[in-house]
Amino acid sequence: MGTLVSLLLLGLMWGGVYLLMAQGLNLIYGVMRVVNLAHGDLIVMGGLIAFSLFHHAGLSPLLALAPVFALLFVLGLLIAAGVLERIEEEGPRGELRTLFATFGLSYLLANTSFLIWGGQFQSIPFLQGALVLGPLTLPEGLAAASAAAFALALLLHLFLERTLTGKTIRAVAQSPLGAAASGIAVRWVRVFTFALGTALAGAAGALVICLVPFQSASGPDLTVQSFTLVALGGLGNMLGAWLAAELLGLIEVFAQYTLGPDAATAAFYLLFILFLIVRPQGLLGQAGRV
């Protein structure tokens, strides 16, 4: 009974981390209408930067969130303004070009990480103690990371809902043409949004690397995990994304516990494929374009 409740709580906490992982992807998809296939590699990069900051400067990963966020924001600006916004999308298969560019970007980033940090698994030993709540013991690190992830997710939500910049982003996501007609500089909103999504991916990475070790090649797995969540929860739907994140957190934790890590990864992919076969348009019936 104690184990079951522990696993349940673990799963719910993991949900927060997943939510943060997926939010950047969701945001970018909403505005640019392209799945950023380098998303996982950006998470990895954020995590590895936090890893270096911890090892060389002794910076706690929670404090490292700020510099990682800033660095990845700049990287995102460069990628969006330098590459993605310059791709001509007119003509047959035009919309595929941006997708392929992010496919290339994924390899570019992953192998750059490999050059800098090598191929071994890295992790940050952060808050390794246990949180004792009556009969339950929970890992402190996960509790802290989960709390930080939920806080960031909430901040993003408030930013999108309450601020003018946030509203501008939502306007562009809903109708680029309408936004442009209202005097919004759509191109810059797209660049800013991509940078924001990239920064969020980096922040997620800084938290995830405290919980599970990863290596420079872990990117694609993280991309698919994030995408699964977005697909399950429905694009742009905060509540849906959160529920999906909790669901996947629970599945991951229980599969890890009963089947082991490899089977848990396989379970994730199988669930993704099976779910979409039952509901090819995703939970909310919005088909994704390539």
Partner: protein
Amino acid sequence: MRRAGVASFSLSPFLQAGAAGTLAAVAAALALAANDYVAGLVFSTAVNVLLALGWNLIGGMAGAVSFGQVAFFGLGAYFTALLVVQAGLPLAPAILLAALGAGLAAWPLGLLMLRLSGIFFALGMLGLARVLALLANALDLTGGPMGMTVPAALSAAAPAFVAIGAALGAFLLILALLESRFGLRLRAVADDPASASAIGVAPSSTRTLAFVLAALFAGAAGGLYVAHVGYIDPASSFAGTIELQTVLMVLAGGIGTLWGPVVGGIVISLLSTFLWARFPTEEQIILGALIIALALRLPDGLLGGRKHPRFRPPLLRGAVEGVAGAAAHAASRGERAGAVLAAEGLSRRFGGLAAVTEVAFEVRAGEILAIIGPNGAGKTTLFNLLTAHLAPSAGTIRLNGAALARLPPPHRLARAGIARTFQTSRLFPSLTVWETLLLAALTRHRHWAEAEARAGAILAALDLVSVANQYPETLTPGQARLVEIGRALALEPAVLLLDEAMAGMNEAEIARLQRVLRELAAAGMAILAIEHVIAAIAPLAARILVLDQGRVLTSGPPETVLEDPRVIDAYLGPERLDVAA
């Protein structure tokens, strides 16, 4: 009809096959004459071309981009290793069986995975490759993470010959497919699955066949790879690097083109061999950057961006049969006595909105029934219900007296005799006018010559001969409408559904269409026409049905319906009556 223009130049299929054969012979001679290093290079280039041909078939030609074709490379590699190690087969038959095995596995997988669309399919395939890699990692049979050693081929030249042969075979097979009716179907499905199903082409089975062949090629490549390196493990057999290189080769050569994977395969193989020798650690960074550079600077690849008509109308022999001929064939499919198409109590709700409520009508052979109504009256929803693009919430539809299933696949309905046009023209961007009509005619006629005759008659009747070899983007809106109507007519339907066919037409085109519709009706075709241009359709229509807010307001002969105050009301609002009074 004349063969239009000499401006668009393209090689005949025989010349293309000859060119491919020559290229293969040169590669084989190179592998034989030079040292083992060069033979190895020829080998890996041929394997890469094979992989690229497979990826391009599903990702380019069938329009289903996949990021997990390496799944079938890995399957082919493991099948080969198991057949050699466990069953003691020699390499050559093992590779052949493994490729067939990968193709066979792809059949159910394709039926399943191709239910996903767009990005979901692309990433679903990535997931499939990961699951297979994890499986190979976990099983004892496959040697787990350590893999297996396999007795490799002794010389470098022998596998090179086999690889060249396999790549040439794959190329010729794709060439033959493009020259067949399957090629036309594939191009239509890649362009617009919904539009393809409206002319009787089943998107899923068309794509599944492409998927199976693509897997067969990838499986053969995997088998050849094992024969060459003599070793197999999950990390290298399902490596993302292979997917990266394959996508890069196709993009560099030109996605969706016949020669793109060959040219891209050769260029990128040589480049990556060079990079691997000079910059082993940076190789993948450079390849990744190259994809980005292609997307920015050369998005259509080295060979892409130009379209060549693959099929052209034959020289006209004898008199044109005329559109009436096509209609006469079609009319034989309609019930002479009763209603050809009838609806009873047809309703459709979208959440709280009742788009169509209890609509009933029937249309007989030789009759034109016009459907009019203000914007939002439910006209297009009614058409979508009649053509199974939407499921009705209630009601029945009868074709020649027999009730239709609740939601039959649209392509089956099109074959059963209900043909439609779309409100906004939906032609296939990569098919010429002639190819579009031919494709539709081929769903009715097994024999190529019959289909050509039928398509030719429609081409002449609709005054489209001069644009036969043009692509939709070069047509006027009115011509595009006529092509879409021609496409529907080529199905020889029992009933023709026109959704605002006259919108965007000039006066001459409207007159031409009116004449054609009269001929079709006289020959016995049942026609249902949604129209805004009431003045243009009223003289043709035997009856008019007025929809307002999803319900039938009234129906009857044009002269009574158009005088009905309720109809005037629905169109112009009650104020007009006040003013008139």
